[in-house]
């Protein structure tokens, strides 16, 4: 019953809905919401289903199955968005694998100023900017729109996702960040 309610809300809302909002409005515990979402994901995210559940940034959203994306695009008369330049692609990759991440951290990895690229990616709606209260600066993560553009329902299905997230060398490099900030 509970799963049905959540499923119905997600369908009707169409936009990404935060798990925390579901919890608040339906007065549920975190575990119950998690279980319901996992249940919906199991039932919907199959090859044969036209609708999949996408999860990113702690928010879920129903989207169409990416494997039939071309036909849907044709029907909706949607055209491919312009190509990504190599610098923006690199920046996006860093945010995909290491987000939420700050600008100095991205710049530490790329070795170059990224302000303009980040601004353009924000304009294109591929990334989101949020204030991190602990780090006292904005952090960046990729948006649901970007996941739709690359046709994945969650980031951890990407190759080597865990390896990148837990890479000690990257953590070590990023911890040296203040030195580059002189």
């Amino acid at each position: 019953m509970l799963t049905t309610t959540i499923e119905a809300v997600l369908f009707a809302a169409a936009k990404p809905i935060k798990l925390s909002d579901l919890r608040k409005h339906l007065d549920l515990s975190e575990e119950v919401v998690r279980e319901a979402i996992d249940d919906i994901t199991r039932r919907f995210n199959t090859e044969g289903s036209g609708i999949h559940l996408m999860e990113q940034n702690g928010a879920v959203q129903f989207v169409s199955n990416a494997s039939v994306g071309e036909d849907v695009a044709k029907f909706l008369r949607v055209e491919a968005s312009g190509p990504l330049t190599r610098p923006s692609l690199e920046t996006l990759t860093i945010i995909v694998y290491r987000g939420p991440i700050t600008k100095p951290e991205i710049e530490m990895i790329r070795g170059v100023n990224c302000s303009l690229i980040l601004r353009n990616l924000l304009i294109r709606g591929f990334i989101l900017e949020e204030q991190d209260k602990e780090r006292l600066q904005p952090v960046y993560r990729v948006s649901h729109e970007f996941l739709q553009a690359i046709g994945v329902n969650r980031l951890d299905v990407l190759p080597d996702y865990e390896a990148f997230r837990t890479n000690e060398k990257i953590a070590e490099l990023l911890s040296r960040e203040p030195e580059s900030d002189v």
């Binding site: 994306g69 690199e90 070795g111 690359i150």
Partner: protein, 231 residues
């Protein structure tokens, strides 16, 4: 803004370095970094590095020079600046560049998913519904509407009224002054039917003065403006 487009497509210093090392088929080590220093500096000389990125390019250049000098002169590295960071940085950077290829393939393929489009719902406010209307009410309402529209129609006729253009008036005054050598503005303006006409006459007169066809004299405020031909 051309430079912005350029800045977004310009490869960063690490990318340049990575391509140099891979072009030489060298492993990413401090030694190979030192050996491509010359090529890196050449790259900086032959390419227009955007000013915004120049500092970042120079940082890498200094690190390379430090590495190279250490390879030649076996002096112990200063502990505060460890140039081996550059090799580590480049190795990690390469991993992201490799990962970006998968991402690019996915981005370029047509495997897109779509969110449900939110329909543009227009909620109509249902206003007061009037009942028991009779034909007379409708007639009154319609004549009321016409009355409200009246000023609008008046405005239109006014706008359409024929007005002599400045050019035409200029011609008239010019011809008049040719036959008379001397006349007053009052004589010209008296033929005018409206304020607009007087204004146009005055504009035409100013234009003639500017063209130095006539010469005007007015002895005091509100006095007669005398117009004379310039010979």
């Amino acid at each position: 803004m051309a430079f912005e487009v350029k800045l977004e497509t310009f490869d960063g210093p690490l990318h340049v370095l990575l391509e140099l090392i891979q072009g030489e088929e060298l492993p990413i080590t401090e030694v190979s970094l030192g050996s491509v220093t010359q090529k890196y500096l050449e790259y900086m000389n032959t390419h227009d590095v955007p000013p915004e990125e120049l500092a970042d390019f120079l940082v890498v250049a200094t690190k390379l020079l430090l590495l190279k000098s250490q390879a030649i002169l076996p002096i112990e590295a200063e502990p505060e600046e460890d140039p081996s960071t550059l090799a580590l940085q480049l190795r990690l950077y390469k991993e992201f560049v490799d990962a970006s290829r998968t991402l690019e393939e996915r981005f370029d393929s047509t495997n897109w998913s779509f969110e449900r489009a939110t329909p543009d719902v227009v909620r109509l406010e249902i206003g007061e519904v009037v009942t028991n209307l009779c034909a007379e009410d409708l007639r009154e309402a319609f004549s009321g509407l016409l009355k409200r529209l009246e000023p609008f129609f008046k405005l239109q006729t006014a706008a359409l009224e024929r007005v002599v253009s400045v050019g035409e008036r200029l011609q008239e005054i010019h011809e008049a002054i040719l036959s008379r050598t001397k006349m007053t503005f009052r004589q010209i303006a008296s033929s005018g039917k409206s304020k607009v006409d007087v204004v146009i006459s005055f504009l035409a007169l100013l234009e003639l003065v500017k063209q130095r066809v006539v010469h005007v004299v007015q002895s005091g405020v509100f006095d007669e403006i005398e117009i004379k031909r310039v010979d």
